[in-house]
């Protein structure tokens, strides 16, 4: 494993460099059209639609974002908002037969959507990897944990002997904090506890030192105490490996723990994007307000009532016309009818902060100041 460190170090240097340039180029280049050459991952106008018997499901409908090495992006949204499909699309794991995919995904200067599927497969697990929600179902029940890590390693290191690969697996298990890794390596997934399984899953996804790690609801199936351990682990490993991380979750607390930037998705589209701090202290989209208002918070005085977002998430086949959030939006009337006719564009309101909302900017500010902020 030690020989991979220089790589990590160099990519860290690159990240720092990118950061420095970032400040002046972000405003200009993070536009919808051109991919950002500075970003390690640059997604432009990603659309993933599925043909079903009931109609076209627009799971992801024009999502763009950039992510630099060493940074963490949080993607937040309800079930069906398209957050998981976005990540599967980046890895090329969406079901290809019924899926229609368009847009661009640039990973380290290489475009993936138009690339040969076999090339994308080679990158998968090597340069980009993924952690899933439920580690019990995500690991094969018939193979030992070690065998599954060894497999992940050897598919990208075909010259490595089984013995060497096993050594790597033990080392990885040790690294993610599994006690007695040389013994546990021969255990089956069902012999691990939930937290241990997620650790093993992380070991498996990091075994090839990927530069991009996507974690899809990595702690949803775990207890709070274990969740805290896993979040710490992801944070530490990110520092150590210097990877770019995308964390997908519905839990704003988890996102706040890890992310530098946050992307809020609704109905397959990005409705708000900004730094973590902006999203939590000065959010401008009514849906973001709704998310923040509906969660009971331990760090605040006890609210008498929670403020839920009314209604249910929309059907992706029959998205509401105009702004997809309009039937659930308490301020839809203030847009002068635009919310039911026009799809709002994601507009930059401040450097690095983008919002897709028809409400006039001053109106958004005053509503947030007078109605939302006091309740949060």
């Amino acid at each position: 494993m030690s020989k991979t460190n220089p790589v990590a170090a160099s990519s860290k240097a690159k990240a720092a460099e990118a950061d420095a340039k970032d400040a002046d180029t972000k405003a200009a280049s993070a536009g919808k059209d051109a991919p950002n050459p500075e970003a390690f991952l640059s997604v432009r106008d990603l659309r993933i639609h599925f043909d079903t018997d009931d109609g076209l499901v627009r799971s992801v409908d024009g999502v763009s974002f950039d992510l630099e090495t060493g940074k963490t992006l949080g993607i937040v949204g309800e079930s069906g908002s398209g957050k998981s499909v976005t990540s599967l699309g980046i890895l090329g794991l969406h079901r290809s037969k019924r899926a229609r995919i368009s847009g661009e995904v640039w990973l380290d200067g290489e475009e993936l959507i138009s690339a040969d599927p076999d090339r994308v497969r080679q990158l998968r697990g090597e340069k980009m990897s993924m952690i899933f929600q439920d580690p019990l179902t995500a690991m094969h029940p018939y193979y030992t944990v070690g065998a599954q890590i060894v497999e992940a390693y050897r598919v990208h290191h075909p010259q490595a002997s089984k013995k060497a690969a096993r050594g790597v697996a033990v080392e990885m298990l040790d690294r993610v904090g599994i006690p007695q890794p040389d013994r546990r390596v021969d255990d089956y997934p069902h012999q691990f506890s939930g937290g241990m399984r997620q650790r093993a899953m992380i070991a498996m996804s990091l075994v090839n030192n990927p530069k991009l790690l996507i974690a899809d609801e990595p702690t949803t199936a775990l207890d709070v105490t274990v969740q805290a351990q896993i979040l710490d682990l992801i944070r530490d490993l990110q520092k150590e490996f210097g990877s770019a991380v995308i964390i997908i979750t519905h839990d704003l607390g988890v996102v706040a723990e890890l992310s530098d930037d946050i992307l809020v998705m609704y109905g397959g589209k990005c409705v708000e994007k900004g730094t973590s701090e902006t999203i939590f202290t000065a959010p401008e989209h009514p849906y973001t307000w709704g998310l923040l208002g509906s969660m009971p918070r331990m760090d605040r005085e006890l609210q008498d009532r929670l403020i839920p977002v009314k209604g249910s998430p929309p059907s992706l086949i029959n998205l509401p016309k105009g702004c997809a959030f309009n039937p659930r939006c308490p301020y839809a009337e203030l847009t002068g009818g635009k919310s039911t006719t026009e799809t709002p564009q994601l507009i930059e309101v401040k450097p690095g902060h983008r919002v897709a909302c028809h409400l006039p900017e001053e109106k958004r500010h005053s509503i947030f100041r007078d109605e939302i902020a006091p309740r949060l």
Binding site: L91, L93, R121, Q122, L123, R124, G125, E126, S129, M130, F132, D134, T137, A138, M139, H140, P141, Y142, T144, E151, A152, V155, H156, Y188, H190, Q191, M201, M204, S205
Partner: protein
């Protein structure tokens, strides 16, 4: 694990005892309950219009005058340790396992029956190989190319295979390949040890006919299992690792999809060893199934009992093997 095996084996023995008791009950107790007298029961063992004395001596010799539980005990004892009948001037010994005497031939049942086992075994083995290979292969391909022409065509044929009875497909194949185009003419069973080539040649039609039925069933099962497995989370994980699709299918998909097939295969194979009645009858193969049919038509109770017990034995053993195999394949069973 050892405790598990012993426990399963013990359960198997108990199950066999129950089966033997039920069988015994059906053939010796039920006729009496239905009103048949000891005399009538015994008279089946003697020729036509027997003299009362002959019947009486048969009753005595076969122990019909003893209480039922004692008769059952002697029956079980015969199977486990052999039995001696005083049915003639000199007592006849019936060797282990003794299922008694045939009404018709007055010969011990077992040696006669054992001659039939290789025939049925040959039939079952060959057919099993064909149906496993073809059924699983077609099922997997259908699942991977779901909705394709291949999928629809093979599932259509499979539906026909499941629906068409053996006496139709069997007679049709005989008519086509034995009479119209005499590729496999003059079908008769040849022992493998006598002439392996002729053994195989004469069994091709029965194998294919029998396998067609099962292959169709297995193709459908494999397809369903494969479709389910391929949508599992761990398949997505395997793809996320960057494994080539071929490996995802074989190492991760097939392994899980085939596990339930093992269970069904064990049961089916065990069942077949107890006699492939229709196939054996259609192709005049002197196997266990044909023996059973003959025994039933002749109302030859000891023969019927022997066949029933044998079939039960095969099924119980197959079941036991399946359970053990399952533990080998699935670590969750083994380690729980």
């Amino acid at each position: 694990m050892v405790a598990y095996i012993i426990r399963r084996a013990f359960a198997a023995v108990v199950l066999l005892l129950i089966v033997s008791a039920v069988t015994f009950g059906i053939f010796f107790l039920v006729p009496r309950l239905a009103g048949e007298t000891t005399q009538q029961l015994a008279s089946q063992y003697v020729g036509r219009d027997p003299s009362p004395q002959a019947v009486q001596s048969i009753i005595h010799n076969l122990g019909f005058d003893k209480p039922v539980y004692q008769q059952y005990w002697e029956f079980i004892h015969g199977i486990v340790a052999g039995r001696t009948f005083n049915d003639g001037p000199t007592p006849t010994h019936c060797a282990v396992p003794c299922f008694g005497y045939s009404f018709k031939s007055h010969l011990p049942v077992w040696p006669d029956l054992t001659q039939r086992i290789p025939v049925t075994l040959s039939l079952a083995l060959g057919a099993a190989v064909i149906w496993l290979v073809s059924g699983v292969a077609i099922g997997v391909l259908s699942a991977l190319k779901r909705g394709s022409i291949f999928d629809r065509l093979s599932m259509g044929v499979a539906l026909a295979g499941v629906s068409l009875p053996i006496f139709f497909t069997g007679l049709l194949s005989m008519d086509l390949f034995s009479f119209q185009w005499p590729i496999f003419s003059n079908l008769h069973y040849v022992n493998f040890t006598d002439n392996p080539l002729m053994w195989a040649k004469n069994l091709v039609l029965p194998w294919v006919t029998l396998a067609f039925l099962y292959s169709a069933l297995y193709a459908r099962l494999t397809r369903a299992g494969m479709l389910e497995t391929m949508s599992e989370d761990y398949i997505r994980t395997a793809r996320a690792k960057g494994l080539p699709e071929r490996k995802v299918v074989t190492r991760h998909g097939l392994r899980s999809a085939l596990t339930p097939i093992i269970t069904i295969f064990g049961m089916d194979f065990g069942l077949l060893l107890g006699g492939a009645v229709l196939t054996e009858t259609v192709f005049s193969l002197p196997g266990v199934g044909q023996y059973a049919v003959q025994a039933i038509t002749d109302n030859d109770l000891p023969k019927v009992m022997a066949v029933t017990t044998l079939a039960a034995f095969f099924i119980v053993v197959a079941n036991l093997l399946v359970d053990l195999l399952y533990a080998v394949v699935d670590p969750r069973v083994r380690l729980s």
